[in-house]
Amino acid sequence: MPKTFPVVIVGSGAAGGMAAWTLTKLGVECCLLDAGPLIDIEKQRELRPVYDLPFKGFGTPGRFPHVTQASEFDENLWADEKQNPYSYPKDDPYYWVRIRMVGGKMNRWGRASWRLSDMEFKAKDHDGFGENWPVSYAEIAPFYDRIEPIFKVQGRNEGIPQLPDGKLLPDESPDSPANKRFIDAAAKRGIRITKPRRATGTLASSLNLLLPEALETGKLSLVPNAVAREVTVDPKTGLANGVSFIDRRSKREYWVGGERIIVGASALESVRLLLNSKSPRWPNGLGNSNDILGRYLFDQIYVKNVVQAIVPEARASRKQRGVTGGAGYVCRFRNLKPGQSENGFIRGYTLDFGSGGAPNPRYLKGYGESMLKELSDLQSAGFAATTMGEVLPRHENVATINPNLKDAWGIPSLNIQHRYTDNEHKMAEDSRQVMAELCHEAGFELLESHAQMVPPGESIHELGGCRMGSDPKKSMLNQWNQSHEVKNLFVLDGSSFVTGGAQNPTLTILSLSMRASEYLVEKMKNKEL
């Protein structure tokens, strides 16, 4: 029966899924809308040899010009670019990568689960740039403590200040001799390295860990295929009163009433939804009196394979096996002291690295028998690393509605304007130089190094656009992810980030969502909201 729910949630990934989990377990009835279908992972997929695919693993030509992560095996999972168009300035490509199905991008996330520290939460205090978050690490830490066990995050607690310890499953795997050499070379420069920190388990998604338990409470109405068009507003009160949406398959229009609205549709989709939620009271988008909505977009720079090297003693010709293997994580080491600006940039970067496996044959010169022999020799001799660096949130990096571009459901889409600046370029080059030197000092043969960042967005760590802050003139949300101007509206996803560091953001999104949801319940109990 149509009714008004105590809470309507848009999006079922990390933000929306955690909100549904938290609220329903605390007895709050919720309606959860997701733009995509509910899939049965096991029935949806089947083992197939690559040669049995139409394009033999090359991927369907032209299907995903901006989704480099899509392979021919999984290209049906990613949001179709023709149905979901967007635009960007001619010379500044933006790669907007989306998954539209219940569980969202958590169905394919890389699972890296790092905490932010006060180096990010209080970044302005550290170097004077931008704004601080309206929360500190101490306020978020109790939620990290509760999220990590749910997702069975594995890693090492090593007392690294810029990468706070967590409630982790211990990782006691040894480092391979090659990795040890690299770690020792880094240690001589004061660079700390730890093991990767990742969620474990079969899927580690909202789909299998959060939503089933939320549904078990009997308090959750989950509506798949509900493409949200607009958060509606009661003209008398100025408060949000529901969500209009379109059924993905039939394109039939609906509206569901909600006493409180939570938006967690992913950073850019949430910005788009709020920008499209115009009314006489909010002509520039819901709660956007100060033209902040859509601004201060950022993500993280990625330099994929910043170095590609060879571990000499792992060559087959030298008959030493077991010298490579395993992965590691280079902790941020630049600008740890307040006010520092090493090598002309502020903030810092981290790196994922791994040894073992063969390098991509493109790095090997030549062709034919000699190249194939070399490739065979190098089967387990490769060493590679990828840079992940902080991007500065800037006013001019902004998502706006493109009134001339609509998706398959007639909803106006975004124009995304995002450009990296000198700070990011210098950071990328610094990472190249440091990693090349470390490879040399570790005794590796460097095949190639480079500092070419992937286009903005490709990291799938898009953040900001609806940021938190203490000052309503400079931010959209308060310290509880609550709209400054529309008190019954909460935005819980990555759009709320003020800074992002170089750490993968999902763990923080989950923590913010749990924290804000518990705050909401408290306010409901006190009849304050």
Partner: protein, 152 residues
């Protein structure tokens, strides 16, 4: 066998599902038609591909894997820029000496250099992903992964 015995045997036999039926790929029984390249272009492509990955030690090479024939189909579906690169490259390149230069992230600007870089990657991939190569590699499960069916 009497007719009724045959019918009884048929009724008693367990039903086969579609997955139980042995099938083969079109490549293993049929010759593909050309989609994009001319006879002259495909011949040059075959020769270049055979140099990039010849048959060695009993393993199939690009020729046995029909890499050139697959690329003819694949390029026919690619962008005009890709098609032009192949067409101009095949018209201007007959040897692979340019591949003796070390690979760098700096994309070359001249057509022959750009073409041979692309060709090497495409030929290796088409060969390594072929049924012939995977069958000969002996790696259990090699080249197999989960395929996600289209979403309704």
């Amino acid at each position: 066998m009497k007719r009724r015995h045959v019918l009884q045997a048929l009724v008693a036999a367990p039903a086969l599902s579609a997955q139980d039926l042995a099938v083969v790929t079109p490549d293993s029984v049929a010759k593909p038609r050309l989609h994009f390249f001319t006879e002259k272009e495909i011949e040059n492509l075959r020769q270049l591909a055979d140099q990039i990955i010849p048959s060695l030690g009993g393993k199939p090479g690009a020729k046995e894997a029909n890499a050139a024939e697959f690329l003819d189909f694949y390029i026919s579906r690619c962008s005009k820029e890709d098609q032009q690169l192949y067409r101009q490259g095949l018209a201007s390149v007959s040897s692979l000496e340019l591949l003796d230069k070390p690979w760098t992230y700096q994309e070359p600007t001249d057509i022959p250099s750009r073409f041979v870089r692309r060709l090497k990657e495409d030929v290796l991939r088409a060969t390594f992903n072929s049924q012939q190569w995977i069958a000969s590699s002996g790696r259990r499960g090699g080249g197999t992964n989960y395929y996600w069916n289209p979403v309704d």
